[in-house]
């Protein structure tokens, strides 16, 4: 039985590795312009090896692949990985199998923060051309204008975490329903505040902000990919470092305490880390729900008894890349915001979990 389990795990890892290698080529071939996977391979090979002699692919193909599709795929992967990580950590540290950045109100808090910053930028501090330059990635990623949105989102996300904790009272035994309801209430509150801000802001800002509420990778560019990649990679490393402590929390606060874990400190740090991941992703690609809920659950179903952090991140990333492909291709001449698709799949999944919970 043990051998069979080990075999299943190895198979899973092998399939995942294969998917990770081929996904960028396949996923980049989908879209409005018809480019085959082999064209993409050649384009990548030429670009990476700088071999101008074998000029297989046209300049326009190269530009589509490198300036539009690849940054989009990288951003989708990073966002999916980040959300899956945040969901997995949230579920463990709150011992709540239904925890998710979206259901917990963190996403709506982050959206509110981002919207506040955005409307202030549009209404006051910048000229419209500055804002266009900003959203088109013509400003370097570390410039203060580009960091304002994530910072605003992080402040909003942290506020929502504090609110959920105050409302649900973590000191008591894990009250899953109570925490979930607190998350929903927080989500509504920040949603209402966001609507209020939009009501009093210009139509231009309102149109731009619709982007956040739906979630999309359409505006992905290389400059915009850097910050999320750094934040998600660093978070992954931190989570790996604290793997033992996080998993000790699963056995209850008292047991974790007897194993030498500073429970309150660890939980607060991990909640803030999840807020940071969510905030940066919301600021970059909007509120994408249910990925953090679904992926850790699927991993638990597929690989029971293991908590593979890196695999969770990779599966989250691949899932998002392919959901984005669906978003690009499901309607002709128009793409669907990716948040709509994840919410549609996620809500069905949510009902499935509720039905099967012991």
């Amino acid at each position: 039985m043990i051998v069979a389990k080990q075999h299943k795990y190895s198979m899973f890892v092998a399939i995942l590795a294969l998917l990770t290698v081929v996904s960028p080529f396949l996923a980049a071939s989908f879209g409005a312009a018809n480019i085959s996977a082999s064209d993409i391979y050649h384009a990548m090979a030429e670009k990476l090896l700088i071999s101008s002699a074998s000029d297989h692919t046209s300049n326009i193909t190269q530009r589509i692949v490198f300036e539009l599709r690849l940054p989009r795929i990288v951003l989708a992967f990073v966002a999916g990985a980040g959300l899956a990580l945040a969901g997995s950590v949230l579920q463990t540290v709150t011992r709540n199998p239904l925890a998710d950045p979206y259901l917990f109100g963190i996403s709506s808090g982050a959206s509110f923060g981002a919207v506040m910053v955005f409307t202030i930028l549009v209404e006051g501090m910048f000229s419209p051309s500055d804002v266009i330059a900003l959203s088109n990635g013509q400003v370097s990623w570390w410039s203060w204008q580009n960091l304002l949105l994530p910072i605003g989102a992080f402040v909003g996300a942290s506020l929502s975490v504090l609110l959920v904790l105050c409302l649900s009272g973590l000191g008591r035994a894990a009250q899953i329903e109570r925490m979930l309801l607190s998350g929903v209430a927080t989500s509504f509150l920040f949603g209402a505040l966001t609507s209020l801000v939009l009501y009093f802001s210009s139509p231009q800002a309102t149109a731009s902000v619709l982007f956040w509420s739906l979630g999309s990778f359409a505006k992905a560019n290389w400059a915009g990919v850097i910050l999320p990649t750094i934040v998600v990679s660093l978070s992954l490393m931190i989570i790996l470092l604290f793997k033992r402590q996080i998993s000790a929390l699963q056995a209850g606060d008292e047991t974790a305490h007897t194993l030498g874990v500073s429970v309150a400190k660890l939980r607060m740090s991990m909640l803030l880390l999840c807020s940071l991941i969510t905030a940066v992703l919301v600021a970059t690609c909007g509120g994408i729900g249910f990925v953090g809920l679904m992926i850790p659950h699927c991993i638990r179903l597929l690989l029971p008894g293991r908590q593979p952090i890196i695999i969770t991140a990779i599966v989250g990333g691949l899932f998002m890349v392919w959901i984005d492909v669906i978003a690009r291709c499901i309607l002709s001449h128009q793409e669907l915001p990716v948040g709509i698709i994840t919410a549609a799949i996620g809500s069905v999944f949510f009902l499935f979990i509720l039905r099967h919970r012991r």
């Binding site: 039985m1 043990i2 389990k5 579920q91 463990t92 011992r95 709540n96 199998p97 894990a174 470092l241 604290f242 033992r244 402590q245 998993s247 000790a248 699963q250 056995a251 209850g252 008292e254 047991t255 305490h257 007897t258 194993l259 030498g260 874990v261 500073s262 638990r300 029971p304 008894g305 908590q307």
Partner: protein, 271 residues
């Protein structure tokens, strides 16, 4: 009975009180425990047994008093240091996500590992040995939730063994177990050769297994000493409100308690 002067003190509790929501749960508790001894904490429901144990492993902070562990004030230990000295076995571990027996036992490594330390082959050996020692070798890959009550308890003890403590605290380790497992668990714990504190409901079991007993009632320490000093007819009838007769056990010589029942009919209907 046991010579307490040869061993240094593992634990010294003085004037320990804990008040919760204006209710005095522990009142002025005072006792010493020599190293390598097994101490039984006995008393009726709500006497403060679990609260006392929780103060000892610092899950709750006493309102006043002093606890010294191996000669050092318990407050001076860091969370990790304390976890390398004291391991705790609770009645059950809540399970939110699936975990197999081996993973549960491996959690005992947590206080010994820094952030960058990985699990070495020596650690794996330690885990395997602990699982073997508690007789769960064939169940190591089973989910913890699939184990029986006695097996779960043994898995938690294996986790405590991996934690390599100098003091093991068990909160009602024999609850919900049949007599076979009750004896097996306590003998297993005794065989570890470290200082043990266990809260135990069954007075005869406590008498047979423990070197010393602490008798609590309504948060106060009523008696502390060897089983024959603590388990007297007077003290048992005052604290537990039952009539009993005590004679030396034929095998180990410690008190053996026989209870009297007021109404024979009550026995027939199962009381």
């Amino acid at each position: 009975m046991t010579d307490t002067t040869t061993q240094p003190l593992a634990l010294s509790v003085s004037q320990l009180s804990w008040t919760h929501d204006d209710c005095a749960i522990l009142k002025n508790i005072q006792f010493d425990l020599p190293a390598k001894q097994m101490l039984g904490v006995i008393g009726p429901n709500g006497a403060g047994k679990s609260s006392l144990l929780r103060c000892l492993y610092r899950f709750i902070l006493p309102s006043s008093g002093h606890i010294s562990l191996f000669g050092q004030n318990i407050a001076q230990y860091s969370a990790r240091q304390l976890a390398t000295k004291i391991a705790v076995v609770q009645q059950d571990t809540p399970q939110f996500f699936e975990m197999n027996t081996r993973q549960l036992v491996a959690m005992g490594l947590t206080p010994h590992k820094g952030l960058l330390d990985s699990t070495t082959s020596k650690d794996n050996q330690l885990i395997d040995d602990a699982i073997l020692q508690v007789g769960l070798a064939t169940k190591a890959e089973l989910q913890y939730s699939q184990l029986s009550g006695g097996e779960k308890q043994r898995a938690l003890i294996a986790r405590a063994i991996v934690q390599q403590p100098q003091l093991l605290i068990l909160d009602e380790p024999t609850n919900h177990l049949d007599i076979h497992y009750q004896i097996q668990i306590l003998q297993l714990v005794k065989s570890l050769g470290i200082t043990v504190i266990a809260s135990i409901h069954d007075l005869n079991l406590a008498s047979a297994m423990c070197d010393n007993l602490v008798l609590l009632n309504q948060g106060e320490l009523i008696a502390n000493g060897s089983p024959s000093e603590v388990l007297t007819e007077d003290q048992i009838s005052t604290v537990f409100k039952v009539c009993c007769e005590i004679e030396p056990h034929r095998q180990h010589g410690n008190p053996l308690i026989s209870y009297f029942y007021h109404d024979a009919n009550q026995i027939i209907v199962g009381h």
